[in-house]
């Protein structure tokens, strides 16, 4: 399909073309409120084509698998006719790094295997007064990406997602907490046990409700709780935001902006991660990108277009879907300095807060906030009510707090980190430990 598309495009577009063809098969099972309710399969095939013609760039996408290549090329050319001038260079053929993206146990797992996996988790999470939802999803994909400069990549990949959610409703008190695994292969027994332990521990500690603290306090953000603090940073490190002039980190390469213990790396070559791939969706070979090193801003992420506009090179962060043009996107973000060998597998998640709790006299541990991503994220200011948070008094977690909100500025808070925990783990696409930040505003009502 892709070769045929590029053949047609080569004849019609004077500046070349690139394209992505992807076929995805997904199988999922859903357990709702404690029982198996549905099983689903999805088969989806799509193609995305980009052409350069007359110094302008256009894109078109389709899921109409039977569609003629000519029609798609025609639409891409119509899009280019309206496009802005852009000198987009397509990368030449380059050797790709070795990387395993396809795991047979995941690909070959039967529907029954997936159902048993979910049922097992459900059983271990059953508790009096609680309802459990579990979802298991397995995906196999075939990706074919190529350009008219001769670069091409074809790989098969697998992805598995397991998520569990426990609900406890007592009167008007609704407590929801969950955990999830995302990887390229089926989770092992140890990973499932950790999901159960993590939920159990947080649930047990949540049964006691205490008055929230108030004032400017030390707050420990767990790996999932860190989202609000990291979102401004990852948005600010995107070359797209820098180009637009809206990133507070623009023009700060080489400057110390963060605590010297703060580092962020994007690593598309980690084995076992669903986001890992040998090349990006624009034929740029994958490599590790150091974004922030010891508090110093080193690099922004770029795809081909943002790199061309910024007069720099793509960092291999082009991601494209069937519809629309490629955009810069992270793969596996790693916070802090963790030895590479350890990153691929989960460490012990250990105690809540990763050992940071004992040094806090009066503060909060935040596991989930409400409304992250709303508002003026990139400016760094945040203000969110807590969804799940615990009070810390004299070095111990004393119970769950409700009706509290935390606020601050992420860039200010990251300048001085109170401490990193020993509980680094993957939370969706990010590997991070718990972090203690001092001087967070805590309000209650």
């Amino acid at each position: 399909m892709i070769e045929q598309l590029l053949d047609v495009a080569r004849r019609r577009a004077d500046g070349g073309a690139d394209g992505l063809w992807r076929r995805v098969e997904r199988t999922s099972v859903a357990f709702e409120w404690g029982r198996l309710k549905a099983a689903a399969v999805t088969e989806e095939t799509g193609a995305n084509l980009r052409v350069c013609h007359g110094g302008r760039v256009g894109v078109a996408g389709t899921t109409a698998a039977e569609a003629a290549a000519d029609a798609l090329v025609e639409r891409a050319l119509a899009s280019a006719a309206l496009g802005e001038p852009l000198d987009l260079g397509f990368p030449p053929a380059t050797p790709l790094p070795p990387l395993t993206t396809f795991f047979a146990p995941a690909a070959e797992a039967s529907l029954d295997t997936l159902i048993r996996l979910g049922a097992g988790l459900l059983e271990r999470l059953a508790r009096d007064g609680c309802r459990v939802n579990v979802a298991i999803e397995r995906e196999t994909a075939e990706t074919n990406v190529a350009n008219t400069a001769g670069a091409a990549g074809r790989y098969r990949s697998t992805a598995v997602a397991v998520s569990a959610e426990v609900w406890r409703i007592a009167g008007d008190d609704v407590l929801v907490l969950g955990d999830a695994f995302e990887g390229a292969d089926l989770p092992g027994e140890e990973t499932l046990a950790r999901i159960v332990d993590a939920i159990d521990d947080r649930l047990t500690r949540a049964l006691t409700i205490v008055t929230p603290p108030e004032g400017t306090l030390p707050v420990i953000f767990t790996p999932p709780g860190l989202e609000a603090l990291l979102l401004p940073v990852t948005q600010g490190l995107s070359g797209k935001a820098v180009l637009q002039g809206i990133s507070p980190l623009g023009g700060q390469v080489g400057e110390t902006v963060f605590d010297p213990r703060f580092s962020v790396t994007d690593d598309p070559l980690l084995a076992g991660r669903a986001a890992s791939r040998p090349l990006d969706d624009e034929c740029v070979p994958s490599h590790v990108t150091r974004l922030v090193e010891c508090g110093v801003v080193r690099q922004f992420i770029y795809d081909l277009e943002t790199a061309a506009r910024a007069k720099t090179r793509s960092t291999g962060h082009g991601r494209r879907r069937v519809f629309g043009k490629p955009v810069p996107a992270y793969t596996n973000l790693v916070l802090g300095e963790v030895a590479r060998g350890e990153r691929g597998r989960d460490q012990r998640w250990g105690e809540l807060g990763g050992g940071l709790v004992r040094d806090v006299t009066d503060g909060l541990l935040v596991d989930e906030l409400i409304g992250v991503g709303q508002g003026n994220v990139i400016g760094g200011a945040f203000s969110h009510p807590v969804a799940l948070a615990y009070r810390i008094e004299r070095g111990e977690i004393t119970g769950r707090v409700k009706d509290a909100a935390v606020a601050g500025n992420a860039y200010e808070l990251w300048k001085r980190v109170g401490g990193f925990g020993t509980d680094a783990r993957w939370t969706s696409g990010r590997y991070a430990p718990s972090v203690r930040l001092d001087g967070v505003s805590v309000a209650r009502r």
Partner: protein, 459 residues
Amino acid sequence: MIDRLTAALRRSRAAYTEIRVERTWSTAVTVRGRRLDAATASEDQGGCVRALHRSGGWGVASFTSLERLEAMVTRADELSRAVRVDPPIRLADVAPHQAEALLELDGDVRGIPLAAKQQLIAAYNDTMLAVSNRVVDTLATYHDEVSEYWYVNSEGTILHQLRPEVTLSGTAVARRDGTIEKGLESIGLRRGWHSVQDKAAGFRAAAERAVQLLDAPTVRGGTYPVVLDPELAGVFIHEAFGHLSEADFVYENPPARAMMTLGRRFGKPVLNVGDNGAAPGLRGTLPFDDEGTPTQDTALIREGVLVGRLHSRETAATLGERPTGNARALSFRHAPIVRMTNTYIGNGRGTLEDLIQDIPLGVYACGAFGGQTLLENFSFTAAYGHMIRDGRVAELVKDVVLAGNLVQTLDRIDHIAGDFRWNEMGGGCGKGGQSPLPVTEGAPHVRIEAALVGGEVAA
């Protein structure tokens, strides 16, 4: 197409089977700053089969290749049989409908050249850029689509629908040194090309607001009397209450059911809330939902008392209530789940002035950057706000985030004005991995006696 679908239905041995097929033509034009980001036309097509065996679970198969239709009917059938459910899933009765429900296209967007769409959105974008040199970045998006939709089920329902949609959105980013602020404009309707003409004023206002916010102080965190403008009040009722009224939350969850018992008082007698999927031309409007149930105006809270909830056929059967036409799927890639359509707070009496005149110190929260609910707790971010001082609207403030507990907050709504309007915004709602589903909200000005406003607090 209908003949092909009804023939495929006959291959299923399930007690209930339905097939949806969609073909969507869409265009999108995005302008960023002074240049065109992308102008694209797309064609998306596919289908979804759902099958249900007696004592089986739902078997769902979705696909992009129509050549796979027959095979996917068989697959859904097999999946349903592989899932054992006890007690079995039941569906509430809905009379079979055969309908050609072709919504008014109001200027069929498929006939408008891509270049004309580009010119329209570029002009709105220029309006934002022209406001001030403090406007450092803009993003303006035009999106339209027309979906042709076919639906058949094994009970005899046969539907053919044409669903138009058009949205405009604008973001203006103003910057001075390290301070960055934004203003948003958003318009979304289930209409066509005619409905998005002459809309420059809203884009200009968004850019002006972004610039004004550069000088505005952050609201001081604390508990205040809060007045919500109709836009934010609409987002509030969607986020804080609407999701709880979706029956899939309660139908198999006894403690949740106890919390949402019909007849329970949720507010003062001024409060009326509903969801109306049949209101003309709005984003959440459709003649039938994705199970073939006609949409309707469903009362949820009447004079402060919970009187109804939103249903699919499955949740209605479990609770012994009637389907409300709220089973919706984002696209053929998904099975329908219980969703809102156009959710509203009913009209009260009086004006904004009547609501604020006896407030010595409060917050007037306007517009919405977004909202999220975690059932009893919600958070929503106003686009901007004003302090209320001595009964008057006073200085502009920023970073107005309202957080609260649903039950407490609904009960603290003590005054509702008589100036109802639908939001008619773009954007949409997310649930169960299906986002953004087109919905809208409507409300008049609403006063909450006391609510927590996030922001910096004094040490």
